[in-house]
């Protein structure tokens, strides 16, 4: 197939033909094309349908501001909706399909909505679909939802990978057009570290699209030469295909680099990289965006921005039409006419809104002064335009120029407001720029090439001088100031037919007028009511014309009417890139206990506890489910001995002359008199008096303690203790360091615990009950000299120890413990059995220490020492926290012992209705107790300690069930604690 609209020239590589398909049609283009330029080359003017009215649409622009030419790119799991053809680099094998139509693109059944347009004006949906009430959810909304949205996700997992990265520079230059290149050259020559980022695959910005000269050479050639110079500098990093999408605090910019989007396959490498750029200074040289003029039926395929038309001709060697008319209110529109004519494209008419002489000579073109386009003909492709005079001009392409808007977007990301400049009839960056940012070139309202080059250099020099660099003395490149006169015209008032302002969201001049009429007059109301500027192009071509039309309605000036600011991102960013590597199992790091390998070889099922993986239970062959394993682990531990990896508990090494005093501040109970060689249970409160954490702290020496925290709170407790140390007690000699990962720690529990340990702990350490009683601790050696720490503490209620060895020996240690325990039928047990045993003992854990309960609630009120201050002491004394009917932690058992208790059920008194006003408390933790042979639970209930033996209802309406339960002591097993002291 030929490329009927391909003409001579341009930067495409004609030696590299590229095959692609659009809606299944085979087409060809060249390397260096965008999908849009290739579609135009192939004569494909109709490329999509608009959002609301399903109007046939073509290509309006040649850049990221494109509202119409959105396609679904690639197929299968790689399908990429809403992709702008104008910035999609063509590659061999590219497939694209059009979006938002039912039936074919050419014959979209939904186009009927266009006929209903009079009834679908701005905000129509707020005024209807209310009757009958039930119809909204059942009929109206599903209908609206089905028609909403443009492209579709594949609904498959994104098959590509993404990466992130961090870059640092003295000066970030955003945009590699003339101003950006000039800025980067100046800064680069001074020796500053420069990053130059540009969204295009060929830097140069408008230089690639123009026929202007710099230093006597073609603009594109000059750009290539400048890039070569920059590339040769060690201190400069040029990043193409990189969009700086957001300006964040203190000189941090977000940037997206598209690494493989121009290739058929990513080949295992990241598709895109999300960079965080730390800059000391930045120069925004983002150029400007041409704005359209609104007139009747101005949305037809073939009606394009004039600068884009000339870009397709000059850069890509493609003419968007064979018979082109130009409609302009400014001098720049004339460049399009002149450039096209020079390339042999027929330009029939130049329709200028101004009553002014020709800007330049355009062979073959008729100059129509003081005129405007009022309407057009050609549903799926422009055929002719009608002027206000009634004259009809045949054309298959209308190049429209309404002037240029500086790309101020990034200047607004920290809520800076642009300012209006009358001389160029446009908003320019305001004074409140992001810190460190300066703006140069067209983005700053320097609308000519010469001005952009000079400003780029000057602004960059000023920025780097601030940083202490000496600016290079090289002068700015030379170019002419091209004519830039502009007489603003925003819409053609004579137009009778709908004139589009926001083409993608189908917002017309009439909608804006209606919005005014209904009182939605502030810019924000206008946007929200009409959806103007809310489409994927973020209103880059629509916002300013809309504002101008609103200004016309209000009779105020444009700046008085308002401004519109932009938010990140500058162009849409794939969520995959923002997520980086955080996918699947890589979402967060894994923390593995030292016995992890052993556990996985011995039937362990693991459970996530924060970032840790812990063995939940160890299944043995023949067991029918987890309950079998857990029951066995509990029974065997209580009968003989069990071993549990408890490494995940936080461990904090505390040293210093004031360490004991320090512990008195952070713990509710007193630690000052804890003897060396002893462990004490500690309760920590938050400053608001609520229980925060608990654990044991061992005194290893006069000035040396080892604290354990819960797994979940290890980091938080450390943080709070540092707060106390540095901010509340700055002159205490106390030092904290985490040793959580340093020690592999195992609980060895059960009547044979000592017998087992006796075989492992070296003989010179006496661990008899007399020498090493309950709550003793000390440094020992195991297995012939390996240093270890031994603590006689018990969570299970059995005779128990925790033994810690350096983590490198952890996997070996559990093997040794199991081997030594063979004669006692030792079992490893997991977190489930641990949980069962602690419930049997009535120990509080995370479900009870949930951040809402006090020491009083937990039955630990007596632990809060009256003799000293501690964090949380005073606020814990507030009256509502000490009510007589405060909830208390107690035990529960089902009256019918065959029933299973439900954690999360609420307690209601007998004969009372199950409503919130009668709520007595809730069940926190439940377990099947193999020791007792029935379900047991812990829970909080009002005045629970005074209600032993009472029967209440445990209701769980979410399960549509309830049962009678008896309030009992939380200590289901060995209430006197004889076992643990054995």
């Amino acid at each position: 197939m030929t490329q009927p609209n391909r003409i001579e020239g341009g930067q495409v590589d004609r030696s590299k033909e590229v095959k692609f398909t659009f809606n299944g049609k085979n087409m060809r283009g060249y390397a260096g094309d965008t999908l849009a330029s290739a579609l135009l080359a192939n004569g494909q003017r109709l490329v999509g349908r608009s959002f609301k009215y399903h109007r046939p649409r073509g290509i309006l622009t040649c850049g990221s501001e494109e509202p119409n030419a959105l396609v679904q790119l690639r197929s299968g799991a790689h399908q990429e909706p809403n992709t702008r053809a104008t910035v999609t680099e063509l590659f061999d094998g590219l497939t694209a399909t059009s979006q938002n139509h039912r039936g074919s693109l050419e014959h979209d059944l939904m186009a009927v909505t266009d006929l209903l347009a009079p009834f679908l004006s701005a905000g129509f949906y707020y005024k209807t679909f209310m009757w009958p009430k039930a119809f909204w959810e059942k009929l109206y909304e599903p209908m609206i939802r089905k028609s909403a949205g443009l492209g579709s996700l594949s609904m498959q997992d994104d098959p590509d990978s993404y990466d992130k990265g961090f870059l640092h520079c003295d000066l970030l230059v955003i945009g590699a057009g003339p101003a950006g290149l000039s800025a980067a050259l100046a800064a680069g020559r001074s020796g500053a570290r420069v990053i130059l980022a540009d969204e295009d695959f060929t830097p140069g910005g408008r230089l690639n699209a123009e026929t202007l000269e710099i230093d006597g050479m073609g603009g594109a050639d000059w750009a290539a030469q400048a890039l070569a110079e920059l590339a040769a500098m060690d201190n400069v990093r040029v990043m193409t295909r990189t969009t700086v999408y957001g300006a964040y605090d203190h000189g941090i910019y977000g940037a997206l680099e598209r690494c493989t989007d121009h290739l058929a396959s990513s080949d295992g490498k990241p598709r895109q990289i999300l960079w965080r750029i730390y800059s000391k200074r930045a120069v925004l040289a983002a150029g400007s965006t041409e704005r359209p003029i609104a007139f009747g039926n101005n949305d037809r395929p073939g009606i394009m921005l004039a600068g884009a038309v000339r870009a397709y001709v000059n850069r890509f060697g493609v003419t968007p039409g064979q018979q082109v008319a130009v409609f302009t209110n400014n001098d720049d529109g004339w460049r399009t006419a002149a450039d096209l004519a020079a390339k042999g494209v027929e330009v029939t008419n130049i329709i200028d809104t101004r009553d002014a002489p020709a800007v330049c000579d355009v062979p073959g073109a008729r100059h129509i002064r003081n005129a405007a386009v009022m309407d057009t003909v050609g549903r799926k492709g422009l055929k002719s335009v009608t002027l206000t005079s009634g004259q009809v001009i045949p054309a298959d392409c209308l190049a429209v120029s309404g002037g240029w808007n500086p790309n101020v977007h990034l200047t607004c990301h920290q809520r800076g407001r642009p300012e209006w400049r009358d001389d160029i009839s446009a908003f320019v960056p305001g004074r409140d720029l992001p810190v460190g940012m300066a703006v140069a070139g067209a983005a700053n309202g320097a609308m000519t090439l010469a001005a952009a080059l000079t400003e780029g250099r000057d602004v960059a020099n000023a920025q780097i001088k601030d940083l202490g660099f000496t600016a290079s003395r090289k002068t700015a490149p030379k170019a002419e100031d091209e004519p830039r006169d502009c007489a603003p015209m925003w819409h053609v008032g004579e137009s009778k037919n709908r004139a589009w302002v926001d083409q993608q969201n189908d917002v017309t001049v009439k909608d804006i007028k209606q919005s005014y009429r209904e009182g939605f007059r502030s810019v924000e109301h206008l946007k929200r009511y009409t959806t103007l500027g809310m489409a994927t192009d973020q209103g880059k071509t629509a916002n300013i014309p809309a504002l101008a039309i609103m200004a016309e309605c209000t009779g105020k000036s444009i700046p008085e009417t308002g401004t519109t600011i932009f938010r990140p991102p500058y162009t849409p960013i794939p969520l995959g890139a923002l997520g980086g590597r955080a996918r699947g199992k890589d979402f967060r790091p894994y923390r593995l206990t030292p016995s992890h390998d052993w556990a996985s070889k011995n039937g362990a099922t693991f459970v996530e506890v924060g970032n840790w993986l812990r063995a939940q239970w160890y299944a043995r062959p023949g067991e029918q489910g987890w309950r079998d394993s857990v029951d066995r682990e509990v029974v065997m531990t209580r009968n003989s001995v069990g071993i549990c990896d408890v490494t995940t508990l936080g461990k904090i090494d505390i040293q210093g002359k004031d360490a004991a005093d320090f512990l008195n501040v952070v713990y509710a109970n007193a630690f000052g008199k804890l003897p060396v060689g002893k462990v004490r249970y500690g309760l920590m409160l938050r400053e608001d008096g609520i229980c925060y954490d608990d654990g044991t702290t061992a005194r290893m020496g006069e000035n040396h303690f080892v604290m354990t925290t819960t797994t979940a709170n290890a980091v938080l407790v450390f943080r709070r203790m540092e707060f106390v140390r540095q901010c509340l007690c700055p002159d205490m000699d106390v030092h904290l360091i985490s040793t959580t990962d340093g020690w592999a720690q195992f609980a060895v529990a059960g009547p044979n615990a000592r017998n087992l340990l006796r075989k492992v702990v070296d003989e010179d350490h006496d661990i008899s009950n007399e020498a090493f009683p309950f709550m003793a601790c000390g440094e020992v050696t195991v297995c012939g000299g390996t240093p270890a720490r031994l603590f006689r503490i018990s969570f299970s209620g059995e005779l128990a120890y925790e033994i810690a060895v350096p983590a490198r020996y952890g996997n070996a240690m559990i093997e040794v413990l199991m081997k030594a325990g063979e004669e006692f039928d030792a079992v490893p047990y997991g977190t489930e059995a641990l949980g069962v045993m602690r419930i049997e003992k009535g120990h509080a854990a995370g479900n009870e220490l949930n951040g809402q309960t006090t020491a009083l609630n937990l039955g630990l009120g007596g632990m809060v020492s009256a003799k000293k201050d501690c964090i949380g002491k005073t606020l814990a004394q507030r009256p509502e926290m000490n009510r007589d009917d405060a909830i208390r932690l107690v035990g529960f058992r089902p009256v019918d012992r065959s029933l299973k208790l439900i954690a999360g059920s609420h307690f209601i008194n007998q004969d009372e209705e199950a409503v919130m006003a009668n709520d007595q408390g809730w069940m926190t933790s439940v377990a099947y107790s193999p020791s007792l042979g029935h379900s047991i639970g812990l829970g909080f209930i009002k005045s629970g300690h005074e209600r032993m033996g009472e029967i209440v209802r445990a209701v769980s309406p979410i399960h549509d069930t309830e049962m009678d339960v008896e309030i009992v002591s939380a200590h289901f097993i060995d209430p006197e604690g004889e076992r643990l002291r054995a």
Partner: protein
């Protein structure tokens, strides 16, 4: 002007030229019975219910910018009543019931869409806590449903069930939860209040309070002094700034919550999904955009913008739980300033200054509360006693030790 399909039809035939302004643009009068400071969702709903339910129409709503420019215009549109504590749940369920009848009540289609909200469960402890909450919802007359992993796999096959770092073990549904077209709520209330005689005065900034002998008699504004018997502050996000003018310190910090919307997509999500373990929640708007968010940035700020770490954190959560969204693009992000209170719960109360009332501290629960907040505030203003579902939302609760701390995070606002 009553809205209906017929009205749209007749207007359409005549070029849509007969639509009238939805609200007047009155100049402030020198005195009102009630002046409401803040023309956001809560302020406008307060005015609406004052007029409609309590017959008080001599009311002005003073708005510094354009009406609806507060957090009603910058939230993620979710409504739900899936709270746990007695201080909250009856209030939010009252709000839900108001939502359910709102459109017919104020004749404006705010596109209330009860598409369901799902809180994913990733651990047994979380399941226990969610069951407790689901049961509390039932006790307060709301609906809740616990779905196990198999059910979710059938209903939401696109979630990452097989390769997730934090496996999905189930979830707590509230089927009546969902989303609302947020701006339309402000406009509907404004229209309803205006038509009942309330003056909505935009571009009118309160610069000070006229407090004499412990009683507030009016306000100073950028459009002159306005006297009133009762002054009702309702400026969540700016509460600190405004109440400082009355010399009050509050149990509130201002924080920014970022929100995000993707490009428009054909239907992806049935309802709202929250992934607490990954700091991510998402729904899909009627226009097709995925609307999502996560945690607050975490530092005090009044700037309506956030920073990159949270943007990336939110997207990481999204990609981890729902890797089908990788090729959808983030279209826009923005930040709203939240009144983060000391226990994560709000205030609707009198102050110690006579005639001065305070409504704020909504954290990021403000939007769903809009109807009940307005209703209860109107009740308090009209009757001088708290509405029965808002009895615990008092400023003195911290002094008394009565905390409404759903998350159990304590007196650190950025943790709620």
């Amino acid at each position: 002007m009553r809205y209906s399909a017929f009205k749209i039809f007749t207007q359409g035939l005549t070029g849509n030229k007969g639509w009238k302004p939805v609200w007047r643009e009155p100049d402030p009068k020198p005195e009102y019975e009630v002046v409401i400071i803040g023309g956001g969702g809560h302020g406008l709903s307060t005015a609406y219910y004052l007029a409609k339910e309590y017959g008080i129409t001599n009311v002005a709503v003073l708005e510094k910018g354009w009406l609806g420019s507060g957090n009603i215009g910058r939230n993620t549109t979710i409504i739900r009543s899936n709270y746990m504590l007695p201080g909250n749940e009856p209030f939010y369920e009252f709000s839900m019931k108001l939502w359910e009848n709102l459109e017919q009540d104020f004749n404006y289609n705010a596109m209330i869409s009860q598409r369901s909200i799902l809180n994913l469960v990733h651990s047994d402890a979380q399941r226990d806590a969610f069951i407790r909450r689901g049961n509390a919802m039932f006790l307060a007359g709301a609906d809740a449903e616990y779905a196990d992993a198999d059910q979710l796999r059938r209903e939401l096959p696109f979630l990452d069930f097989d390769n997730a770092r934090f496996p999905i073990k189930g979830g707590l549904y509230q089927r009546r939860g969902g989303t609302v077209r947020h701006d339309a709520v402000a406009w509907g209330y404004a229209r309803g209040a205006d038509s009942r005689g309330v003056d909505i005065i935009q571009n009118c900034e309160v610069t000070g309070f006229d407090i004499q002998n412990g009683t507030c008699r009016g306000v100073e504004t950028s459009r002159g002094p306005i006297r009133a018997k009762k002054i009702a502050v309702c400026v969540a996000g700016s509460s600190g700034r405004v109440m400082a003018k009355a010399g009050m310190r509050l149990p509130i910090e201002s924080h920014v919550l970022q929100a995000f919307v993707s490009e428009g997509l054909k239907p992806v999500l049935p309802g709202v999904i929250t992934f607490g373990a990954g700091h991510f929640y998402v729904s899909q708007s009627d226009k097709g955009g995925l609307v999502f968010g996560g945690d607050i940035d975490g530092y005090n700020t009044y700037a309506q913008r956030g920073n990159l770490p949270v943007v990336e954190d939110v997207a990481e959560g999204g990609m981890a739980i729902m890797p089908i969204i990788g090729r959808a693009r983030l279209l826009r992000s923005w930040g709203g300033v939240m009144d983060m209170s000391m226990d994560g719960s709000p205030f609707i109360d009198k102050t110690h200054i006579g005639g001065l009332y305070f409504n704020g501290g909504w954290c990021y629960g403000g939007f769903k509360a809009t109807p009940a907040s307005g209703f209860c505030y109107a009740h308090l203003l009209a009757r001088d006693t708290p509405h029965p579902v808002a009895t615990e939302m008092r400023l003195d609760r911290f002094r008394r030790g009565h905390l409404i701390d759903e998350k159990g995070q304590g007196n650190q606002p950025n943790l709620h």
